[in-house]
Amino acid sequence: MKFIDKKDFMGFVSALSADADIFYPKVSADTSDWAKWQTGDKFSLDGHRTILPVKYFFYSPQENLRAKKRRPAIIFGARGCDTRGLELLKKIYLDDPEDPYFRKDILMFTADCTSAHPDCFCSALGERPRAEKDFDLNFSPLGDGYLIEAGSEKGKEILRKNSERLEDASETHKKELLNMRAATEKTVNGQNNGVTLDMQKLKEKIETRNAAFENYGKTCVSCSACTTVCPACFCFFLSEGAENKIRYADSCQLPGYARVAGGGNPKKELISRFMHRFGCKFSWRPSMHNNLGCTGCGRCIAGCQGKINFKEALIAVSKS
């Protein structure tokens, strides 16, 4: 493990920008969202997840499917829920036949959360507020610098090339790391009252109609904000451009999603669409891919126009 002093950090970013576009969480008011780094920009990796997930770096919400020339990219400050979401998307997009337009030239420089958004509930799904795998480099913010762990060959290579900016992690750093991680876990656990959902039970409950769905679903206005901001939602609609196909982000929450010719629509009822999202994330993907379709990032709660608390709905369903 390496350590970089915060005063050397922007120099490190600047050096990397020679070969790649850099993206980082830009803070405004009490939230943060992705911005492309320009010379002179300063940023910190403290804090928690951004408003939007990282998925739109890997494919665009509206995309002409043709070969593109672009520089590789590095995403700084993706959180544990971001990498987990990304791995869930890869199970779909990179499954045979592989989607050739899903980017593979992006390095993930994740960061441990040092705080939590009020809607974060990763702990309730048994996850931790940091990336434990699937990163190239992981940064753990400590008071005056970052501890850096490499998770891939490319990550190691970057550490080697920048060795003059880095020092070896000390015992004190490692102690600070444990304290910082414990403190964040405590925050997330605290705001979720220590709840951990029983996934098996939840899966069984979700497979049948349930009064909790009706209860929570009734204020849904089918706006699709929840799926748009979700790091694990993958649906799109393929359309025709002049020469190539064009792919548009789509949502199971929209009324026309499952419509077939002749007007038939198995998801005409709002409640069946509302349930679709739960089914997909907590029953079908677990059955087919052996993983959830949710990371517990709480973005769908923050974005919901119907003020539906997805976490509370999950708890209610599992208790029903």
């Binding site: 592989e98 799109f236 609609f237 359309s239 025709e240 196909k245 789509d250």
Partner: protein
């Protein structure tokens, strides 16, 4: 890496009017095109859109494929305007198709309604090609009126080649229909079947699939011996876009043909 979103150019060779709203399009793909019976393709009208169809020609034919298409909406209306020499795109083959090996040595009952006869024609032609491998072959086909029968001129040939054919129409205003009248399930009356060593294959409008399946269960077919073509909204056709979700399955990738036993508990399968 091959691009699963790229279409293969194909030229329209011949357009046949089957009924007032169904046409068959004989296509010549720019390269040999292999598919298994029951697999489907995405038919691209350049600049307009795509829609999924199951070829209706035998899978033994690789230079040309025929697709039978009912005018049902936006894309199919454009398809119906196509003329010989027009160039369109096809993407595929997609999906899994019929497990013909499971049908060997068995009595095969094919139950079709309306334009659902299209994929069933492909199946029927493929089965007739190797008739010796299979047992008795029955086709039960229902249409709204005699004028809605697709492939009207071909039944006699299939019969000659060994298929037993039973047809019904919901109604006939001209009075010139000598076969059965009623919804397709009426064809089961008096029919001797061997569900214990038989399979049934169903394709047609959702309502017909539902009542057809119920009838098959009633006469003794086991859910695992009933094969259904699930018509779901499809966009990518390769298990990425989510539209065709049928419970935990993607109809495009895990289907479109499913055993009834596999999908029977999924909400909304008949909608």
């Amino acid at each position: 890496m091959t691009d699963p979103y790229k279409t293969l150019k194909a030229e329209v060779i011949r357009v046949t009017d089957e009924t007032s709203n169904i046409k068959s399009f004989l296509l010549k793909p720019a390269q040999k095109f292999s598919f298994k019976t029951g697999q489907f393709v995405q038919f691209t009208v350049p600049g307009i859109g795509e829609a999924p169809f199951t070829p209706s020609s035998s899978h033994f034919k690789k230079d040309e494929i025929e697709i039978t298409i009912m005018k049902a909406g936006r894309v199919t209306s454009k398809i119906h305007e196509l003329k010989p020499k027009d160039v369109i795109g096809i993407r595929g083959p997609l999906g899994k198709g019929y497990p013909l090996e499971e049908f060997e040595g068995k009595e095969i009952l094919i139950l079709g309604g309306g334009v659902g006869m299209a994929p069933l024609r492909c199946l029927l032609l493929s089965l007739l090609e190797e008739k010796d491998k299979y047992g008795r072959l029955l086709l039960l086909y229902g249409s709204k009126t005699p004028g809605d029968i697709v492939y009207a001129g071909q039944f006699a040939d299939w019969e000659k080649r060994g298929a037993e054919i039973y047809r019904s129409v919901d109604r006939c205003d001209t009075g010139e229909w000598k076969e059965k009248k009623g919804v397709v399930t009426c064809l089961f009356e008096g029919l001797k079947l061997n569900p214990d060593n038989g399979v049934a294959v169903v394709c047609g409008p959702p309502i017909m699939m539902k009542f057809g399946t119920m009838k098959l269960l009633e006469v003794g077919y086991k859910p695992e011996n009933i094969y259904l073509s699930m018509e779901k909204n499809m966009s990518c056709g390769i298990g990425k876009c989510g539209h065709c979700a049928c419970g935990k399955y993607f109809a495009c990738k895990d289907g479109p043909v499913f055993k009834y036993s596999v999908v029977k508990d999924i909400e909304g399968i008949w909608d």
